[in-house]
Symmetry: D2
Subunit: 382 residues, 4 copies
């Protein structure tokens, strides 16, 4: 008996790392199978070799994603969903094409560059009755789900302050490079035409925005920001103060030039009954302090196993889970939604990041750049 | 084109966690494919359902591992290797059967219970010219390989002292249970007939022994030990002092009753030119102190990427890798060895834990229990 | 031979904790001796008992600080300096009185409430040729001095981003108290008449401002802020974005309602050649990451002993130094300045926080509250 | 009114660091005053200068400790106690002299070299009715006292396993020095005639022994050990397995050649109801895990203030206390005992390390070396 769900991929040839992360994550769920792909739009050779390596039928390794959308939509055994892992500038066109062909979409973040494009994709997916996931992968960590439940249950009371950050160091060398040098910042990320209005905030600042929203349920009402471009066309560092719909403030910081940091997403959420602290690079650990008590070091297991969140744990406590399992958790729910959709069952309660989250991300980036370019004045966001 | 390598599994029905960890790890390598299995010897139903979930041909879901060995050996498209993930007491018989059928073996640790059994498997695999891997999974972590290279390159000089431990807390409740109660210590682990002469040392102490040997290359010359059974038939806690072939001493501690610890394998290796410290629960980080300098916090990437070890990194630095990738690295090399073997190429230099390591593990457990039961006197081991 | 320097204290009766911290810190330096005091202005009994406990001459235990200033100034063996450890609202009057009497002053922070008062004290001390120290105690930690030297030497290059914070939890219960309840926030701190325009920013936010300036030498050009009062008259939480004179930005956060934090002053300073990270609660450790290398964990000793800063280390590395030694370092330099001043030697290069730093602190607090109350718009500060 | 208690010091001239640590610690308690000393037996000049720096009466700065004992005993205002901070080989003679003169003694550890000497001092102090403290300074930390109370109250149940260590790195260079080189290991520590039978175990191993006994109340019944001398006359590294009087085992490790460690005394105590973990270099923090719950990070304050132990906290929680306050706590109780003794009050319940602890320390060192030199066989100790 073949797997229940067939999927295809756009982008992610064998040389790129992130495509294989998606595929490896999906393989954790034996209900889904890769059957088609357009892995490289620019290199037929890379495309072909990737298809071979993945044991695909040659006929379903497409040179053009539009052709793929059409052909797969026409097949009786065509793909149920497509995973889009291409550069940011192409997400909109590709996602739109597959939606128009009636195929569910899971798209890398950021969804696209403009709020109007994002809202168009949102409207189109609704109109077509299609699932549209956005790969905010960090929400797939088991402890992200535990935090979300704890906040919902009132474990930390009303949120009164947030401090969240995502510093990296990988572009620090660019500050020392001549303007015309071969920078670490790859072409598609440093070029506004390809990367959009923002580099750092769009790439990693959005993860902060999405993660805090996922965990707390809070919506950003307005924000103000400074961004630092250090002579480059796009931002490499940003400080943001947000005001949530409940009146509390939060401070967000993202950077790609912070020596000694890698993917150091770290969130600290303070409520009037306690606090939560979590770091992406140590995803299995969570510091929880109830008001008036000593901090407790929670893990996926000890002393605090959440019925709802615990089900995501693939390994027993003490065995490190990494980014692959976060991706796997995200895809697992998406695949469940695809199966339920096919059976005309309700999918609204299934937990995966959706096109609405992608729209919020684009709005957030847009507001940050607008504030920074307008003397750091408040910009209303919702 | 189908994958190059076909494999089968004995044990690991859908209800057991570790079988799926193995399968998910093997799926990281698209060169190998599961085609056969005897997932449950006791429940035909579990066996059948696991086969279905994994989309196997019903004819290759076997009720008996002996039948599986025979049938697969007879097929032209039979399995290249078998992964054995059954309880400890069954490893010897199953591994022996597949070796006799000419099939490569990857076996869970501990290899078996007695030194003579272990040496029989070693001799048989040599005689048959078959690969025999033993799943000392922690050696698959990228930083385990980095440490091994650093020691080999002399980064810490001559090893002069080792402090290593593997505490867990999961059996602590058993100290409070009535003798006839339903203990956490599952039946097959607490029963000497199933688990052998040792519980704690056999289950986790052997990981210390293997890991230190893997990283340093040192062999244990002799050891002495105390074990604590706390009224139970088998050991739950053990302290061991070893003497290596280079004259240095090491202290090993393993426990299953240490409140506040999960799978806290931690190794600290001191040389006359520096030291290394690593913890399994934070596998992406390594503390390295060169003599006379400040400690450095290495990760898979920053400031110390090892050419040889770096190739094992599946994710860019800063993205946590977990136990799955450690398993995946172990299987990746084993699969490469299987392919080379088929081509009659040399496989001796390929890095994966082998039957020799399994033999050493059995010798270690045997010596620890012998010393503990003989007033903690020294027991020669090599 | 008697000690070279005689001092007196205003405030700090035996029941208050901070006065004794000052006295114990000064005792680290055998060159100075307490000889006079006005420990409690409100309780003659407390004043007398404190004098007794400290073995003071009864005649020099004064009921009124003005009398003390006059009497000590008139004595041949009168005090060389006074240490003021009273509530914030009294600093200005007391400091002014002793300056007018020709006595050097060491004053607790914040110096006073208004910029004009602060500038008056600054002008008066200059006019009188008197030393005026302000107790920004955290700059006394050995590693604060090491960081300062490292930045000055260019170890982290040009500062491009700062992230600094000082969260506490001790007022969290006040968010749950009725408006008229007996709050933890002591009377003199919660009352604008006594505490000034700010609670949280004035009490701990100023430490961030001073500490970053001390370590980096950067001056704040302008800032914007949000403060949260949660229904109370004064701020309990604040987020601040600053712009330094070199164009870089910094994010400061202070809070007294952050569950799970104590005196968690933490600074992270990012330059284009490296970074520094330090936490007040672990004052002996410093994380230093040179660009492109792994982070290094420095302490007072290992692998990075600074000639200039190292001299402050009272204990060999590995022996924890605490807040007392930070205070002791601060007073040691102040006492040296007092001795040099007596000999008409130059004191300009001696490292202790001065009235200028106190003025900057008052300006900072004033600007933060002004911005927060003006829709978080930028406020120029220098 | 002069302080209640007068004391003198033997050893600790101005150039040595540890004498000043003792004096600074005693100054935390305004009830005691230094009035006499024999700071250097070898250099009259150092002795004189130290006396001057400390503002002592010249007549009470003695060239010879015997003269000091006699003269002070004869004075009406003579010293109440002497603090002995000389090299190990001199402790016995000096302590004996002051006891014979009827003066209370606080002596640095190790007390002396042989069990018979130690027992002689114990007998003599009893006979004379004098107090005899031994400076096991780490027991002065507030959290050491908290741990002791928690164990006594049953918070971790019955102790079932201990893992404790004290590694340092400061002698690592000696492993690379020629035999006749000027080693870091100072003359009096490397010479058996001055340091006794042991270097590493005597200097730091005894701290482990004393600290675990202080916290748990357990007595060592027997032990076995390996020591490593690496070609030097005395031990530089040791591994010890102990058996307590309650049947549990503990593993102790001490080293002076462990790269990357400073004074890394760390203890982990596992009971059948929970565990405690503490590190000397982070003395304000304590990890406490109740059975079946998540670990809790205690400090001097939050969520676990101990009435009895809390009284030792000199600073509010969040303000680091260092080694000086540990010494201060130890001396505070000793001074209290001196005062009570003078009033013929009971001093038996006062918490400070006594000559009995010193005797235990000498027995421990003696047993470790005996076992190591006798093929690591068990040596009965109590």
């Amino acid at each position: 008996m073949a797997p229940l769900v067939r999927y295809g991929m756009v982008g992610g040839d064998a040389g790129a790392f992130i495509g294989e992360v998606h595929r490896a994550a999906i393989r954790f769920d034996t209900r889904a199978e890769l059957v088609a792909g357009c892995f490289s739009g620019s290199s037929g050779e890379k495309n072909r070799l990737t298809g071979e390596k993945l044991h695909l039928d040659k006929a379903r390794v497409y040179a053009d994603y539009r052709e793929m959308a059409r052909a797969e939509a026409a097949r009786e055994d065509g793909i149920d969903f497509v995973s889009i892992v291409t550069p940011n500038s192409t997400h909109f066109d590709i996602a739109r094409e597959f939606l128009l062909s009636g195929i569910h979409v899971m798209c890398e973040k950021p969804l696209c560059f403009t709020v109007s494009q994002a809202e168009e994709l949102q409207a189109l997916s609704r109109e077509k009755g299609l699932l549209f996931g956005v790969n905010y992968s960090y929400t797939g960590y088991v402890l992200a789900k535990v935090m979300r439940e704890m906040v919902a249950e009132g474990k930390i009371g009303k949120v009164i302050s947030v401090n969240a950050e995502y510093p990296q160091e990988w572009l620090l060398d660019d500050l020392h490079a001549a303007a015309d040098a071969d920078l670490k910042l790859s072409v598609w990320r440093k070029d506004p035409k390809v990367a959009g209005i923002s580099n750092c905030v769009g790439d990693i600042g959005t993860h902060i925005e999405n993660f805090i929203h996922y965990v707390t349920g809070l919506k950003i009402k307005r924000l103000l920001a400074t961004v630092n471009r250090f002579g480059h066309p796009l931002d490499l560092n940003a400080n943001i103060i947000v005001e949530y719909d409940n009146g509390a403030n939060g401070a967000y910081w993202c950077s790609q030039v912070a020596a000694g940091t890698l993917n150091a997403l770290a969130v600290r959420i303070y409520g009037d009954e306690g606090s939560l602290e979590w770091q992406q690079e140590h995803p299995d650990f969570l510091r929880y302090t109830p008001r008036g008590e000593a901090p407790r070091l929670l893990t996926r297991g000890n002393g605090y196993i959440r019925e709802e969140a615990g089900k995501y744990a693939i390994l027993p406590t003490g065995h490190p889970e990494g980014l692959h399992t976060a991706f796997a958790n995200l895809y697992r729910n998406f695949i469940t939604a695809v199966i339920r959709k096919r059976r005309n069952e309700d999918t609204s309660g299934i937990d995966f990041p959706r096109v609405e989250d992608g729209v919020n991300g684009v709005k957030f980036v847009s507001a940050v750049i607008k504030s920074a370019d307008n003397n750091s004045s408040w910009v209303e966001i919702n």
